[in-house]
Assembly symmetry: C2
Homo-oligomer: 161 residues x 2
């Protein structure tokens, strides 16, 4: 049983790690100019999706009870506002670095948590709710965020020549 539980955690983590690796390769392969382009006419630019994914992953730090969000200034342009509605956003170079920093922090913690630590509640659920809905745990957050990342990475991939 214990072994199977660890296998399941591993499946979820392998999926996260391999998708982060693919996303890193994709962003590295795209130039700053390519990221300035819209993924389809009238849609989000690549750079917006880079900022959006970075902000969503940054918020995983407090959600998973790791530490405070590192770049709260990304919330306004990349979570609260739509693309091309904010006068100035951080440089692409800065966003690329932020993306790496956040994912590196996450992976450091992910690699050292025991299976039991993965089953702890996330911070957006109260103890009372968690007693009734024990699936609202850390592993569930990572399953959801992996899917979210894939949704947008499939879009960013359209910028490749």
């Amino acid at each position: 049983m214990e072994a199977q539980k660890q296998l399941l955690v591993r499946s979820v983590l392998d999926a996260w790690n391999s998708r982060i690796e693919t996303a890193d390769k994709l962003f590295s392969a795209l130039t700053d100019e390519q990221l300035q382009q819209e993924i389809a006419p009238g849609r989000n630019r690549g750079v917006y999706l880079l900022g959006h994914l970075t902000a969503v992953h940054d918020k995983m730090l407090p959600l998973l009870d790791i530490e405070e969000q590192v770049y709260p200034h990304l919330d306004e342009p990349f979570l609260n506002k739509a693309d091309k509605t904010v006068p100035a956003i951080p440089s692409t170079k800065e966003l690329r670095e932020n993306w790496k920093t956040i994912n590196s922090k996450l992976s450091t913690h992910f690699s050292k948590w025991s299976a039991d630590e993965w089953f702890k509640k996330h911070t957006a659920v109260s103890e009372e709710e968690f007693a009734k809905e024990p699936h609202r745990n850390r592993i569930n957050v990572v399953v959801g965020r992996t899917n979210h990342m894939q949704y947008h990475i499939g879009q960013v991939a359209l910028l490749k020549k």
Copy 2:
């Protein structure tokens, strides 16, 4: 321990089910004409991605040891060949039905498997390999396919007005 294992299976299944539901809504909201359009200039058409996802999910039936593939004729146009390189593909109406049929078959089995059945090997791995790599199980296939679906659904969503 047993409870936690079931929670993990539930997280993975909830993610699958909710993404299938979202994908169904998206495909239903798009007209046949919209699905004929390219998701971005020069890229795959919506109808190709519908066929591609249907073929990939169809192949999950033998991979998860449920039954034979139902629509093997979808392999050639939607897995082996690129979009717009095959003279004739099935009608969009037919593909919409195939998509529903396959996902319904999968969900029927998913909902009745015990946690232990989820840990059985998938059919693309031998008994010998599985003994060494026990993460190559059914649940791992579903984690991977959920991510694959999200990747393309993020693209199909670009066809929405």
